[in-house]
């Protein structure tokens, strides 16, 4: 049977990953390249074998082979083919297999690149990466196996689940499956888990390089950072997309008009993103000035550990959350692996601490170096605040026995001011020079953006006196936005005067000449846009709820919502739809028909609320159908006016563009024939190079 093939390939992949771990470690220890080569081959092979297992599951989901317990759990006749494939990651077993597969894929791609300069690190890279992969494959094979089948044992009424046929039993083929949880039947389901997993698993690459660098002593230099920079960026952008898609999905289906709830599982994704972003920046310090090496190591170990921690609390229910998977036997195994990773990496770091000496020192308190240090501290402070708020309910229950909830008020109040300072720093730090920034030069660079933003904030503040916090937030956004745009402006102007290019060509070439810098600026711009969305959400959100009869209005702000009637009809995926026909008007003028509805999934007995939304760049008018009475004569609606929310999605798209630009190789980039390093120069060596 097809399922058997999948199980066999899974087992073989497991054997390969375990072999690769030990072979590479042994080969590295003894300096025997043959063992390392063998380990490399095993690692490369693990991926195709896992791919077969994944294909088997996807195929079974697609053709609805309900004799597989997993297919029975997450798939059903009513589901579209598209959704059936996405159900691969719809339940615990499939999603861990998916995770292991992605991780093996990442490692395989990395192993296929040229390794000349980093040959020394390869054994330990493979050992670390394969240890992790072997763990996840092992979990799939032994703990949450998607190839479990349903059997009917003679004389036993309940259906048994087992990998292999028990005595006196026959395979059991249910008529239909349970089907995917209705909340998961959304395009967010297609995008959010894969990108999130790619982000989490992607960080195993820089982590493995970091450990390999420590073990081999390569951590003395920054070669290993150059090698991993692009991989870190890949993992980072996927994690960023995952975060934004998750927010969008929550906004669309959960019906609470928001996109970020500070739920423990959301925080679990945010924390590695924060430390990962800090890591991306501090490696620049190491590349340019050979500083902050210790810091980098701590950050990458922290980022990877937080990803493991995140997936641990998501899948074991240790901290209660709306997102948690059902309880499973994963807990103890994960716990052991996390313990091993934390203790192991910290020990290696301790033993090799001396390889991480800084090459240079700080020359001035106002310089890019100090800005980087401050930025790192801020990121770390925010991460700590989020971490503390996430685990505090557990601590409180342990110490006092009382369960408490740490909700958005805590997170907003504690991280808000820190983010504020961070965003401002993001705006002005690129203007800082390395080594020493003259304050007057800085003043010259920022006085225009500063005054412009004060002006904008002043006008805004006058019009919106009721929201003092928003004035500060909007000033910050204006200041940083104009600061970054000023950088672009100066660059474009310089090209125009020296080369006579028109503005568009100038801009294009400006970015093209220095991808990293201007890609980075674009990413910073996108961060400000996303920040705008958060500011709007915190300060300007309007909401109202009310019951109206047919023909009556609900008012909110400048808008009026008129309820016309209710309609009922069957929908796709086996759902019953009750839809409200409403008209949205602004200041009395009708602008749009909105149809909020409630879909009831008869099989799962679960309703899903689908909002009717009117989107403009400035705001969303978001209408929910909450209930109805008198057989549709009157209905209850909840309306939110979410100001500035669309800037979050726009910012997200811009972030992707910026990252692609930043990661792209600069044209004409080639290996330097010599590298000029101050301090390494002596007249003697220079004449030789010439």
């Amino acid at each position: 049977m097809i399922a058997d093939i999948g199980l066999i390939t899974l087992t073989i992949a497991f054997i390969f990953t375990v072999y690769a771990t030990f072979a590479s470690a042994y080969g590295g220890w003894r300096g025997q390249a043959a063992w390392v080569e063998s380990a490399r081959n095993a690692s490369l092979l693990a991926f195709p074998f896992l791919t077969v297992s994944v294909i088997v599951i996807v195929y079974s989901l697609y053709v609805l082979d309900f004799s597989l317990a997993y297919v029975y759990d997450v798939s059903s006749q009513a589901m579209s083919p598209f959704l059936r494939v996405a159900a691969l990651w719809g339940g615990q077993q499939g999603s861990v297999l998916f995770w292991a597969w992605l991780m093996a894929g990442f490692v395989a791609v990395v192993l296929l690149r040229k390794w000349e300069r980093d040959r020394e690190m390869m054994p330990y890279f493979i050992a670390t990466a394969m240890l992790t992969t072997a763990f996840f494959v092992g979990v799939v094979l032994f703990i949450t196996n998607p190839f479990m089948r349903l059997w009917h044992i003679e004389g036993v009424t309940e259906i048994t689940q087992a990998l292999f046929q028990p005595a006196n039993s026959m395979p059991y083929f249910p008529e239909d499956g349970g089907g995917l949880n209705p909340l998961l039947r959304h395009f967010g389901m297609i995008g959010h888990p894969p990108t999130t997993y790619l982000g989490f698993t992607g960080f195993v690459i820089p982590f493995s390089f970091a450990i390999a660098a420590l073990i081999t002593g390569q951590s003395r230099g920054d070669e290993w950072i150059r090698t991993t920079r692009r991989w870190t960026l890949v993992a980072w952008i996927f994690l960023s997309i995952g975060l934004i898609l998750g927010g969008r999905w929550a906004y669309d289906v959960l019906g609470w008009g928001g996109f970020w709830g500070w739920d423990p599982v959301e925080n679990a994704m945010l924390m590695p993103w924060l430390t990962g972003t800090a890591f991306l920046h501090s490696v620049m310090m190491t590349e340019k000035r050979g500083m902050m090496k210790k810091w980098n190591m701590v950050l990458i170990i922290l980022t990877y550990s937080l990803s493991l921690f995140g997936t641990f609390i998501t899948r074991t229910g240790v901290i209660s959350s709306v997102h948690a998977f059902a309880k499973s036997a994963l807990g103890p195994a994960f716990f052991a692996f996390i313990g091993l990773t934390f203790i192991g990496s910290v020990t290696i770091l301790y033993l090799r601490w001396d390889t991480l000496k800084s090459e240079h020192s700080l020359e001035s308190f106002i310089s890019r170096e100090s800005a980087f240090v401050l930025q790192n501290m801020l990121f770390l402070a925010i991460t700590f605040a989020v971490f503390w708020g996430t685990i505090f309910p557990l601590i409180s229950e342990l110490v006092t026995g009382a369960k408490i909830t740490v909700g958005p008020p805590y997170f907003q109040r504690v991280t808000g001011p820190l983010f504020f300072v961070l965003v401002i720093l993001m705006g002005i730090a690129p203007l800082f020079a390395w080594r020493k920034q003259a304050v007057r030069a800085l003043g010259k660079a920022i006085w225009i953006p500063f005054l412009a933003s004060l002006g904008i904030a002043g006008i805004w503040g006058y019009a919106h006196r009721m929201h003092p916090a928003s004035i500060l937030g909007l000033w910050m956004a204006g200041f940083v936005l104009s600061g970054i745009l000023a950088e672009f402006w100066k660059g474009v102007q310089a090209r125009r005067t020296t080369r006579n290019e028109n503005p568009f060509t100038a801009l294009f070439n400006l970015i093209g000449r220095n991808h990293r810098r201007y890609g980075g600026y674009i990413i910073h711009l996108s961060v400000v846009l996303i920040a705008l969305g958060f500011i709007g959400d915190a300060n300007f959100k309007l909401e109202t709820q009310g019951t109206v009869s047919s023909g009556e209005f609900l008012t909110i702000g400048d808008y009026q919502l008129r309820f016309e009637q209710l309609r009922a009809y069957p929908g796709s995926d086996g759902r019953e739809i009750i839809e409200a026909v409403t008209t949205l008007s602004q200041d009395g003028e009708a602008i749009r028909a909105l149809n909020p509805r409630r879909d009831y999934f008869t099989v799962q007995e679960q309703p899903v609320t689908v909002p009717g939304v009117y989107s403009t760049p400035g705001k969303d008018v978001y209408v929910l159908l909450v209930g109805w009475e008198d057989s549709g004569q009157s209905a209850t609606f909840k309306i939110y006016v979410n100001s500035l929310i669309n800037w979050v999605w726009i910012g997200g798209l811009m972030m992707i563009v910026g990252t692609i630009i930043a990661a792209w190789c600069n044209p004409g980039q080639r290996e330097a024939t010599y590298v000029l390093k101050p301090g390494a120069l002596t007249s003697h060596s220079l004449l030789q190079e010439g």
Binding site: L362, F392, Y410, P678, L681
Partner: protein
């Protein structure tokens, strides 16, 4: 007979008294239709569903939450203040029902520690920067920037121009 009459008077008085009580409540908030859904949500927003994990009470859709919102509505219409309702929920269902952790008792630690961490962090940043500077003054005494020969300087400038 007298008994009946007394009972009737008592009944009438009770009814009148009830009406007055009702009008007193109205006089308090003065608005018809109080409490509206928005009033209920205003209170429910500060609370979390006691049963469902991490779900605010104003958005939770389960029957239990509907019952709780109905209870808030009743309590508001009886003249309870927001704070009284919240205190009632805390007594009945435990501290986990509060969205914002309290600032007293053990729970205050959740606020206290990040604040302390930020203060310590600022101090640490300052110390790091200071120690880096100290290292610098130690090393500059030893080496001085080497001189770059003129021919190499010119070669470098040529190559930079060529890069464009």
């Amino acid at each position: 007979m007298g008994n009946m009459k007394r009972k009737l008077i008592l009944l009438l008085l009770t009814i009148v008294a009830n009406f007055s009580a009702v009008s007193i409540v109205y006089a308090q908030d003065g608005q018809p239709g109080y409490p509206t859904d928005d009033d209920v949500n205003r209170v429910a927003k500060k609370l979390y569903c006691p049963v469902c994990p991490n779900t605010p009470l104003d958005v939770c859709e389960t029957k239990a939450c509907q019952d709780w919102r109905a209870q808030i509505r009743d309590q508001l219409s009886q003249g309870w203040t927001d704070q009284q309702i919240i205190d009632y929920f805390v007594t009945q269902y435990g501290e986990r029902v509060l969205a914002e952790p309290q600032r007293k008792g053990f729970t205050s630690l959740v606020w206290f520690l990040p604040l302390t961490a930020v203060l310590i962090g600022t101090g640490v940043v300052y110390e790091i920067l200071k120690s880096w500077r100290k290292q610098k003054t130690a090393t500059t005494a030893v080496s001085s920037p080497p001189k770059i020969p003129k021919e190499l300087l010119e070669k470098i400038e040529r190559e930079i121009r060529e890069l464009d």
